[in-house]
């Protein structure tokens, strides 16, 4: 059990937290032919786009209402409506996602009222978020809730027996999302995945260039999301979204990382499907258990530090603890209920400066964090296992999986290999002097 500590510095140094609007954009990029539009000054969109582009190595569709000082003060509604019309015309999206920011929040705009003035054009959903509060997780989950509220058909008793709705959380990589869907499909279940980045942000080459991403959850699938036999959410912030679709029946867990959490996911799917666990999955489980044994020599007793988004933080802590590591410090940008149950002494809501200080104090031998942790790891002289967002100084961010038996095994080996690569295994000769030539 962990105590939650909030860092109490008057300044944030090397932030771990991302803005909520960024999280909302991330969610909307997993919806088919969706164009996200930040209701902001143009810099917010430009900077977010650069960051997403660097991480995913894709051209990212993202536009802005391009507010100036004057339009912010005099009323930004016209700019928003003009921006919507322009992207509807230029990119021909099937859905436009409006994401508010700190600027319109501070200006006190009634965006919902503005949107009601529209009479034609593609549907618009609104994620009413702000970079004045919350982080990536809050923005992402607000976007998913907005999609459900606007586009999912109401639950009215009709349910499609062999269909499950999967809600992947903000920390799942595109290949994690695919792993989650495949795991459910292995039970013969049909899946609705919302949002589905597995074919939109996964990094693939299309025949032609299009300003919108290919892949993503089709609007028809979102409509049917509430008609499934079961709803599974992999992300603690998605509890509300799950409830919107399935009431108290929705199954929400913070993660499916490590043996125990993967077992829980598989057992739940088996119960939903009313079927035995398929052989292929059982075999993957045996690979993970074998991998845990193989890695135990490297990882047992090792001291690790984590600086990650909440769901990923507890997932990675679970896996590495199963492998015998000690989590000496865990830093996360925003609070979450499940953090108290983590297998470490304390969880700090803080930034990379906190992470660096506590990693040093805890004598950690490995830091698990995004590319922003590289400078701290270098100063500390310990390896960095890159995970989370953003990973911009290595290729293949989409492939950094952690979900299920297969994802856990990848992560486990990656952690062990970082330590193997860093450790100088040769013993140091003693410095005692000796007679004669050396």
């Amino acid at each position: 059990m962990a105590t939650i500590v909030a860092s109490s510095k008057p300044v944030t140094v090397d932030p771990l937290r991302h803005s909520a609007p960024l999280g909302a954009v991330l969610a909307f990029l997993g919806v088919a032919r969706c164009m996200p539009l930040l209701h902001s000054s143009q810099g917010c969109a430009a900077l977010a786009k650069v960051l997403l582009t660097r991480h995913f190595r894709e051209t990212i569709p993202l536009q802005t209402s391009a507010l100036s000082e004057i339009t912010t003060i005099l009323g930004s509604g016209d700019s928003l409506l003009a921006g919507i019309d322009t992207v509807a015309d230029r990119q021909q999206p099937e859905l436009i996602a409006v994401i508010t920011t700190g600027l319109v929040d501070a200006a006190g705009e009634d965006v919902r009222r503005t949107l009601r003035l529209r009479t034609a054009g593609p549907p618009v959903v609104l994620a009413a978020v702000s970079d004045l509060g919350g982080g990536l997780e809050q923005g992402y989950c607000a976007a998913v809730e907005a999609l459900i509220a606007e586009l999912a058909l109401p639950r009215n008793g009709v349910s499609i027996d062999d269909q499950v709705t999967l809600l992947p959380g903000p920390v799942l990589t595109p290949l994690d999302v695919e792993e989650l869907a495949r795991t459910a499909q292995a039970f013969g279940l049909r899946t609705v995945v919302l949002p589905d980045s597995s074919r939109s942000l996964d990094g693939h080459l299309d025949a032609d260039w299009d300003p919108l991403l290919s892949g993503g959850t089709p609007l028809s699938a979102i409509a049917a999301a509430g008609r499934s036999a079961a709803v599974l959410a992999l992300g603690s912030g998605l509890a509300t979204a799950g409830r919107m679709l399935a009431g108290p029946e929705a199954w929400t867990v913070p993660h499916a990382v490590g043996l125990d959490a993967s077992d829980a996911l598989v057992a739940h799917l088996a119960a939903v499907a009313g079927r035995e666990v398929p052989e292929a999955l059982r075999h993957w489980r045996s690979r993970l258990t074998d991998g845990l044994l193989d890695a135990s020599g490297v990882l047992a007793g090792r001291r690790v530090a984590l600086a990650l988004e909440p769901d990923l933080l507890s997932g990675v802590a679970a896996l590495l603890t199963e492998a015998g590591c000690h989590v000496v410090t865990a830093i996360t940008p925003t609070a979450s209920d499940h953090l108290g149950a983590m297998p470490c002494d304390e969880v700090v809501i803080g930034d990379f400066e906190d992470a660096e200080d506590r990693t040093r104090d805890g004598g950690a031998e490995l830091l698990v964090a995004s590319s922003h942790g590289a400078a701290a790891a270098r100063r500390l002289g310990i390896p960095l296992l890159r995970l989370g967002f953003p990973v911009v100084d290595r290729l293949g961010a989409q492939h950094l999986t952690s979900v299920g038996y297969r994802g856990s095994l990848r992560l486990l080996f990656a952690a062990a290999n970082e330590l193997l690569a860093a450790r100088d295994l040769a013993p140091t000769p003693p410095t005692t002097s000796r007679e004669g030539p050396c």
Binding site: D14, P15, V50, T53, S130
Partner: protein, 481 residues
Amino acid sequence: MTGQGSPGRTTVRVGSAAGRADAGGAESCSSGESARRPSCPLPTPGAASGGCAYDGSAITLVPVADVAHLVHGPIGCVGNSWETRGSLSSGPTLYRRAFTTAMGEHDVIFGGEARLREAVLDVGRRFRPAAVFVYLTCVPALIGDDVEAICRDAAAELGIPVVPVLAAGFAGTKNAGNRLGGAALLTHVIGTAEPSYTTAYDVNLIGEYNIAGELWQIQPLLDRLGIRVLSRISGDARYAELTWAHRAKASMVVCSRALLSLAADLQSQYGVPWFEGSFYGVRATSEALRGFAQVLGDPELADRTEAVVAEQEARVAARLTPYRQRLAGVRAVLYTGGVKSWSMVAALQDTGVEVVATGTTKSSPDDVTRIRGLLGADAQLIEEGNPRDLLRIVRESGATLLAAGGRNRYTAMKGRVAFLDVNQERHQAYAGYDGVVALAAEIDRILSSPVFDRVRRPPPWAAGTPSRTLDNPRVPLGLEG
């Protein structure tokens, strides 16, 4: 290149204080002015691209290495942009750390001044910076936080300079932000201290950001001429050297239209003459070196410069010859804005590449004239290049290389075209004579990749496509045989 017809060659453009109006002209589209002046187009909602004024001010000032750069605003402003720029430092690394007040709802209701004050004091005490630069962003500008007053009080309390940079994002474009960053230096930093000694050959470099170490390609050339860089504004700079920029005998504005106004103000207030130039390409580099001699008005320096130029041009010509042969016939589309558009055109031409189209966003009429001089009257000029247009232009012009900023890297990849990064995030330095050779080598290396052909080939099971092997795989220079 020496010996080849160089239609774009012009004598160095020497500025004057009277040129202030011209210098400021295209770039004054900032706070207040933008709405009133028809020449300052507002960004189009739904079709905007490019950063904000805050971003621009950070590009200009964050390279100052021993300063703590504190962003007063919500988490998004710095959260999305830290560690994205390629300015290097030969010493302190404090500038790489991201400090922010990370404003919340509470600050909007009660004002962000108290939080800012505490943040400045905390950073000043714990990190012991040479100075703190405080960057204003949209939200605190909207709610009217008095950043200047906070900075004044905190400076008194800390005993170090605390400089307000008033370039809230919504005040204008990235270019306007560059200019406002320069204005912050002029108002609060330049002229606040004196160098321990001066020489007749002290100069400022303005708008050189030491991307990937470019300053270090230039500085040895200046050393050979006996020119001392008194103030770097701002690549690899330390705070102290900014304070005495007014004692330079000349300023060179390096590839930055937005910072011409800073140079012009240094002339009108302190009598420092200036000229504008670039270190991209052989011709531009030689021009720039001659520019110092011309502006410093020293015939003996001019003679020395001619000797160095002749020697360097001969040396670089010899080194470029094999690349020029290999790159002959390679067509490139360049998409970068401002002054860099013409200087990069010249640099690419020096490597033997044929530039078939170039971007002119943010370029002044003067830049465009220079481009036309380099490319000929029927060169294709790209006003606003969205990814789709860029790929179309590449295809239609038969180009095999897109040279642009990092944001278009994946435009090129999706179009299966080789890509050369020419903006601030890159890891290669292309300045000075050696930089042109590095540029040629990089283009040669990039074009040697067989993947662009390979990924175009349909898979063997696709109907009606005979399988074939790749024709003429390229091998980069130095790796053949």
